[in-house]
Symmetry: C2
Subunit: 213 residues, 2 copies
DNA sequence: TCAAAAGTGTTAGATTTACACCCATGA
DNA sequence: TCATGGGTGTAAATCTAACACTTTTGA
């Protein structure tokens, strides 16, 4: 009984997944998701949470179950049933040191190599679920810094949805959502002119509550 | 490691679930979903399929995984992780004899009693997923006889969605879907005038392919 | 001065919703 | 003949999609 984590990040305008070389037999050296075993005294969710924290050092990561994967021959050694979870983190919040220690790296979801066992399937299913959830719940902000520009947000939705979005229509929809607040701060790293920084206000969201992108 | 099945049926204008009294300890006698254990040499899907067939005698039942349920204390005896599956069957196709033998009955989803362990959670999640899928994929027909009236179909969507639908708008949408074919047959069981019977043509659906209700 | 990203409204078309009456029949 | 469920169309409102130019500023 194990858990495997599909950890999504957003960087360089691309949706990425954290993958590494498998450290144990069978399949040592193959590209793989990061996972762990479920202890006798912990729930599946707890196991996933612990695994995520072990890898990233971060707590309270947004995480959802993808499902159970249980082909008989999915693990060439003994029989292992694995529960997949996807998680969303901000790439910049992840300690480079920890990342290197665990020998995992961010790979664009469009350029994923063949992964160990059924891990590619897990990624595809996780992506599908995450995409769906991102349309109707404000979870995308977990992939961004707490202050972000509208262009960044748009690029995120484009990367996840896999298609370009009209800038004016996108911004119109954002304006209707009061919980996406414009600050007076300006980010000048991506343009000479600079772009206003926005923030997601969860308190306001919980009052008025409706999200659709 | 077990599987639990949320078997949906549609009868008397209501969405129903097949539940029975639990036959083993712990929890003997409590209302419960029908389940079974996963054998060492079968996949999760195979285990669910076998369990469904064992209960209903039917093969090739439409079935989807709901997810893994793994609270440590979810089973008061030893630790059991369960994978829930939902399935759709036509109530009329289910042998009354088999049903009685297994001592399970159809209970309206709105009148479900408290079920064993976390089974109520499973049902709710299954319902949510099924509802979602029924909007965009033509799976609802599995809950109906192969010939059905438009009123039956509408009642089904109302029962699953939990709200009333405008008759004319509903029928307008049906007309746009060429794979829902009107036959020349008339059902006179529900009205004096009689209503045309329709059928879902999967072949046509696979050609033209788009469903939205 | 110019290249590059930020910012901003309008309009046509498509989709969705609301709504009320006649039809056919068996009892 | 009448009660019951079957069947049908239109118009307003809303939502969606397409589309192009001006602004700011650092190099």
């Amino acid at each position: 009984m194990s858990v495997d984590c599909i950890i999504f990040g957003f960087d360089e305008g691309k949706l990425k997944v954290l993958v590494g070389r498998r450290q144990m037999d069978p399949g040592r050296g193959e590209w793989s998701l990061y996972g762990g075993f479920v202890a006798a005294d912990e729930s599946l969710d707890d196991a996933a949470e612990r695994t995520l924290q072990d890898l990233t050092g971060m707590k309270k990561i947004f995480m959802r179950q993808v499902g159970a994967f249980g082909r008989v021959d999915r693990d060439p050694g003994e029989r292992v049933i694995s529960i997949a979870y996807y998680a969303l983190i901000n790439v910049k919040d992840y300690s480079e040191k920890l990342r290197a220690e665990h020998q995992v790296e961010w790979v664009s979801i469009n350029e994923l190599p063949r992964l160990y066992s059924d891990h590619n399937e897990m990624v595809q299913k996780a992506w599908r679920m995450m995409k769906q959830k991102m349309r109707t719940e404000p979870i995308g902000f977990r992939l961004l810094p707490s202050l972000f520009t509208l262009t960044q947000l748009q690029r995120l939705y484009e990367a996840v949805g896999g298609e370009l979005i009209d800038k004016r229509n996108f911004r119109k929809r954002i304006k209707d959502m009061d919980f996406i607040e414009k600050t007076e701060l300006i980010d000048k790293t991506t343009s000479k002119r600079g772009a206003y920084l926005y923030r997601f206000n969860n308190r306001v969201y919980n009052e008025d509550s409706n999200f659709k992108l």
